[in-house]
Amino acid sequence: MKRGLFVIVVLFLLLAGCAAKDEQTSGAMEEMTESHGHGDVKITKHFDESLTMLTDKNLFSLEMVIPAKQLSMGVNTVEIIVHHASGGDVPQAELTVTPWMPSMGHGVMQKPVVTERGGGLYSVDNVVLSMTGHWQLQVKVAKDDKEDTAVFNFPEVKAMGHEHAMMHAPPPKDLDYATMKMTANNAYNVMYKSIGGQIRINRIHSWELTINDAAGQPVNDAMVTVVGDMPEHGHGLPTQPEITKVGAGGLYRVDGMKFTMPGWWVVTVSIMVDGVHDSVSFNLNIL
């Protein structure tokens, strides 16, 4: 009994790896700085849809940009903008991001990969959350001789999943297979293209979306989601696709598209710009 407990504690320490160490050191430093007074501290925010946080010692303010402000079970990408607490972006900092599950006392084996994009922007790939529940992202920033930490909380990380209506009936005879369509309320014109030519069953592949507004002007800054459905069977795609803004020409890249059943599929593209939402559904016949 006692030994079992020892083993479990040890295992968690092992999985915790450096994360446990980080916690100790940052705690110690916090005490040290507490006696120093606070200067002008403010949170800088570039995006409406972002999470912000001051680091523990008020050295930096961090802005985290993720779709819908939520992380989900699986592999996530987040963007972090590092600002000085006194304002101004922080380039060339060293960022360490550690996913942590406080209730279980463990992290994950995969290390997030941080890439500096310039202007204080860092993208963090490979943020693996292996289960649902309460997760934290511990972000450590080191710049010159300064180091500080902040912890972002995600109390309810969920598994991905959408409701899929089941029609259990063959597709209507006159299905429209157009690859360019207006959205339901005519706000946008959307075109999709499978990169690499004809869609092949069972192959993970990417799409390119082109979104223009009703006047034909490219829409470059939309929140876009893509959901696939097989109405006859009541299920969706076997993947969670990810959408990236190209930032010009109304272009968006959709990675992780996959169809594993032949037949009638419906792919719905939802678009949100400045609070205006509209969507369009494309029919596909996968061979």
Partner: protein
């Protein structure tokens, strides 16, 4: 005379016209004269199922040794090595028999003890995205590391594997991967691994230094990558079905020359048509490598097998996955893991669609050997007609015969890597 001729040809034309009309309205029975006639769309489906569509082996970016013949030769030796087991009697080949389409003939496999699932055929396995019935591995090399440390299968540890390699395979290993340290009890415990099911081994593992653990993990991973390089080479060869597709595309129609019997062809027509088997058993290996709950009977007196739903966390947290430090891939080369569908509700009780190549040669069937014969499998599918993914009207007894006949036409000899021993 002229008049007569004209009338005759008029009658002939009318007959032809009538025939054409008739054949448009009435599709004809499955076993009509032109049962070797397929529509363009059907021909495309046949081609997509044929071995011709298989293409070259997919690259495994997570394993830089995957196409290295020397690694495959080494991996082949390891595959058949009995020393890698708690009782010196179990090798990969115990449950993946060369003479049995690389699986075994048991409802539940037996290594050191009985496993909760049936073994799987390894034919063309490298074309899959996920491995095991529940897909809890995302590469063949990380898959190979599972059974070694599984108490019911090989039942040894990664440190013991390193000992065995250093004792029996030092030369093979060092030629590929560089120098091996000496394994002696003073430097390395014999039985150490990070798992909760063996507290002593776990304790021993934890007490090793991080550097020692790294050394052992490297050797273990290299071993997995070598085994994977061999397992990749296990491939189907053309079956009667594939030769038939070739005939159809060459325009052959003379019934006496066709490779498949009428009954087999009727089964093929059902397979891609009314019976909807290609919803899941599609592509040249007759699998979409995806997970489905097809409503199999649950075993009594055991907790239900959650299948894929339980495996999602496992594959995400596996230290040997494509995104981990032992993978040779760039994170962008791990699309399956990056875009993994984590909706565990959808995958409750779901298992990977198995290949149907050589299916007739290797009973029993399903993830826990639920059925002893193909007939039982087909009877089961018939009983599931209300499942929208399986719906197929009602299959008659005769149609089950035809489907069964067709499944027999998917058998072929198996190719695999021949180590060149000098």
């Amino acid at each position: 005379m002229l008049n007569f001729l004209m009338r005759a040809s008029g009658a002939a034309a009318a007959t032809v016209l009538l025939f054409i009309l008739f054949s448009i309205v009435w599709p004809g029975p499955a076993l009509s004269m032109d049962q070797h006639t397929w529509s363009e769309q059907e021909k495309a489906v046949l081609r997509s199922l044929s071995i011709e569509a298989l293409g070259s082996l997919p690259v495994d970016p997570s394993n830089r040794y995957s196409d290295n013949p020397q690694a495959a030769a080494f991996g082949k030796k390891l595959f058949f090595e009995d020393h890698f087991s708690g009782n010196m009697k179990v090798s990969c080949a115990t449950c993946h028999r060369v003479d049995y389409s690389f699986t075994d003939n048991l409802p539940l496999s037996h290594g050191m003890d009985t496993t909760p699932r049936r073994s799987m055929p390894l034919i063309g396995v490298a074309y899959n995205s996920w491995f095991f019935w529940d897909g809890r591995s995302d590469s063949l090399w990380s898959q190979a590391l599972g059974p070694i440390e599984n108490k019911l299968e090989h039942g040894i540890s990664r440190t013991m594997s390193a000992y065995i390699i250093s004792k029996y395979y030092r030369k093979d290993y060092e030629e590929l991967f560089g120098p091996l340290p000496d394994f002696m009890e003073e430097n390395f415990p014999q039985n150490a691994r990070p798992a909760l099911d063996d507290p002593d081994a776990l304790k021993a593992w934890v007490l090793m230094t991080p550097e020692q653990r790294e050394v052992v993990n490297r050797i273990y991973v290299n071993m997995g990558k070598s085994i994977a390089a061999f397992v990749r080479t296990i491939l189907p060869q053309p079956s009667a079905f594939d030769r038939y597709v070739e005939q159809i595309h060459a325009g052959e129609t003379i019934p006496s020359r066709m490779v498949l019997t009428n009954e087999e062809v009727a089964g093929l027509r059902l397979f891609i048509g009314k019976a909807k088997c290609t919803n899941c058993h599609n592509g040249p290996l007759f699998t979409n490598s995806d997970f489905h709950n097809i409503g199999l009977p649950q075993k009594e007196n055991v907790a239900p097998d959650k299948g894929r739903a339980a495996a999602i966390t496992q594959v995400l947290s596996n230290e040997f996955n494509c995104l981990g430090q032992y993978s040779d891939a760039h994170p962008n080369d791990c699309p399956e893991l990056r875009f993994i569908d984590t909706s565990n509700k959808k995958y409750a009780g779901a298992f990977k669609t198995p290949t149907l190549r050589n299916v007739a040669e290797r009973p029993p069937y399903m993830h826990a050997g639920q059925f002893a014969t193909l007939r039982e499998v087909l009877e089961f599918y018939r009983s599931q007609a209300q499942n929208p993914e399986l719906s197929h009207g009602n299959l008659t007894d005769k149609e089950l015969d035809q489907l069964e006949a067709f499944l027999h036409a998917l058998s072929s000899p198996i190719a695999s890597f021949q180590a060149e021993v000098q």
